[in-house]
Symmetry: C2
Subunit: 355 residues, 2 copies
Amino acid sequence: MARKASDNNGGKRQTTIREVAERAGVSVATVSRILSGTYPAAPATRSKVMRAVEELDYVANHHARALQGTTRKSIAIIVNSVISPHYAHVAQGVQTQAAEDGRLCQIGTSGGDAERELAMVQFMREQHPEAVILVGNVNADDEYKARMSRYAHALASVGSRLVLCGRPPLGPDAPAVVVEYDNTGGAFAATSHLLSNGHKRILFLGRRPGYTTPDARIAGYRNALAAHGVPHDPSLEVDGTFERYEGYRMMRSRLAAGPPDFTAAFAANDQIAAGARQALVEHGLSIPGDVSLIGFDDLPPAADIDLTTVYQPHEELGRTSVRLALEHARNGGPPPHTTLGAHLVIRGSVAPLVK
Amino acid sequence: MARKASDNNGGKRQTTIREVAERAGVSVATVSRILSGTYPAAPATRSKVMRAVEELDYVANHHARALQGTTRKSIAIIVNSVISPHYAHVAQGVQTQAAEDGRLCQIGTSGGDAERELAMVQFMREQHPEAVILVGNVNADDEYKARMSRYAHALASVGSRLVLCGRPPLGPDAPAVVVEYDNTGGAFAATSHLLSNGHKRILFLGRRPGYTTPDARIAGYRNALAAHGVPHDPSLEVDGTFERYEGYRMMRSRLAAGPPDFTAAFAANDQIAAGARQALVEHGLSIPGDVSLIGFDDLPPAADIDLTTVYQPHEELGRTSVRLALEHARNGGPPPHTTLGAHLVIRGSVAPLVK
DNA sequence: AGAGTTTCTGCAAACGGTTCCTGAAACAAT
DNA sequence: ATTGTTTCAGGAACCGTTTGCAGAAACTCT
């Protein structure tokens, strides 16, 4: 066969430490030591080396350096999508905390697909980050759990850790730091708010069985109904994903099916609420006059549409993930586990039911 | 069947190719060749090796591999902040296109700070990505330009390229792929729309001298005024950054200063528009009844607040950046340069002026 | 059966740094 | 002047892969 160098992009070699050493008239060992600053060097030698570095615009090869074990620390985070405000805020928190701790943060996306997420983790593993933070819901079947559990072990064996942010533990033996949201508590509070305003027929928008976040939120909804002694009507639960257009679709088709058989709606997140609101308005219904509406997240669209919703400490989730991972790296012991709370933010989209 | 190697091999060193070779009873060269699939191997040997890999859960050390030059391809993108919808969409586009081309994409943030951005580029440089994509406006002084220009050369000398997405070229000699937005054209269209609705006193919200994006948009605003023969009143230009609360602040303090001396407002982006809208509504003014409002970007808040705005192909900008960089890597030649258009999206926030 | 091929596998040299170990100046103390 | 101490710089052995080169085994063909 012919040579495999099909797209060999020329002899683009970077400047090496040897060239710097030669130019400065010292040995490579000296250059290395001066650059890492781990060694007292004679001022004259030091300046000679620094000048050579300057002139050649030398940057140490990261891979060669990492091979020695003296790798620069980094944190990896994998989210479903960076355009979702919630994930963006969590990523922002991770980024901020990582920067404060002198780490680089790299963000990857999975698109909510379990297969792509596993591939991404595998990829990140090659880069030896101090922590791999997984955030967001994914449809976790047994195969997935088994593979992820193996990755967790492999990650732990090279001294980095897996952080599960907003998703259930993989299993008792899989070593992972866990940062949980209080989705169920937040949904309970939201639903209770509607109930105490006299609403009994409450539409739930955004059911998605098998996905952790919607599952946790619908659980809070059901718990609240049960706690208030209101019968649970499964036909009030509408399936859909956490997108704005899905909220629009769900509400629109519900309204098209006949006159509203509900007086309030609880959307599984703010984007669904925004879409649902549009459908209601287009249908000539007013909020909260005709229908009360409540969301979840308290992210950008919420304030603009005067939406009562549940606040989650998005950035704090990211920061806490990093903090716990690094603490665990220092102190060892069993992987920490924590839950961050959520609370109601009252705006103008909920009104008492008048009969 | 599932066999867990709960063998505590002591310490936190990863499993190496040597251990795999030993377990399979072959040499490391054979393992390497079989894993990379670049060489015909006897089926028996192959299965022995694969089993050993399986059992040890071996993953090749990325750094060692990269040192050989057989590095996995990656693309780096640096944005101001990932919570800004615009940057998030561009990053999403980069991510998508990179994935389609079999590349990993890593996202970094600069917070809009020139110093941090330079540090980030320096950091990314260590990782040898195929391209470093810089997006968003930054206050580019001469010092910055000089350093970035040097980085561009250094990047080029090792075969990766710098992409400037939505910012002006560094200089004639700095090798960089350029993807531009038509900010000026979009702003011209937006302002013209207001002018042709009879508005003459148009507030511009979000001036920020020295920053490329606001500068380009205000230029379009001024050009449109000039083209329509409307006198330019500098007092109608209000300074502020591209944040929602800044829009609120700007409009609020303008209204507090006295009765409105304008009939329309052009916000430099949708977030400013959203904040300004809130201030107007709180002040008892209706949109578009009392004041016409127009934004820029056509991102999430826009649809919810029925905002007429200018659409930009956000994701396409990211995709194009990757595409051009990879094409240039293949074909060589002078770095490509392109501009992506913008167009008006008419919703309900602009009305003809009644006198 | 021996020569000529083909097929596979192993040795060892890179890749570009870091760092242990050692030796040579430089300086201080006898 | 000689010895003892520092201080600083260099040689070379790694780190975990890939891969050119060469040798061994298996196979084909007179």
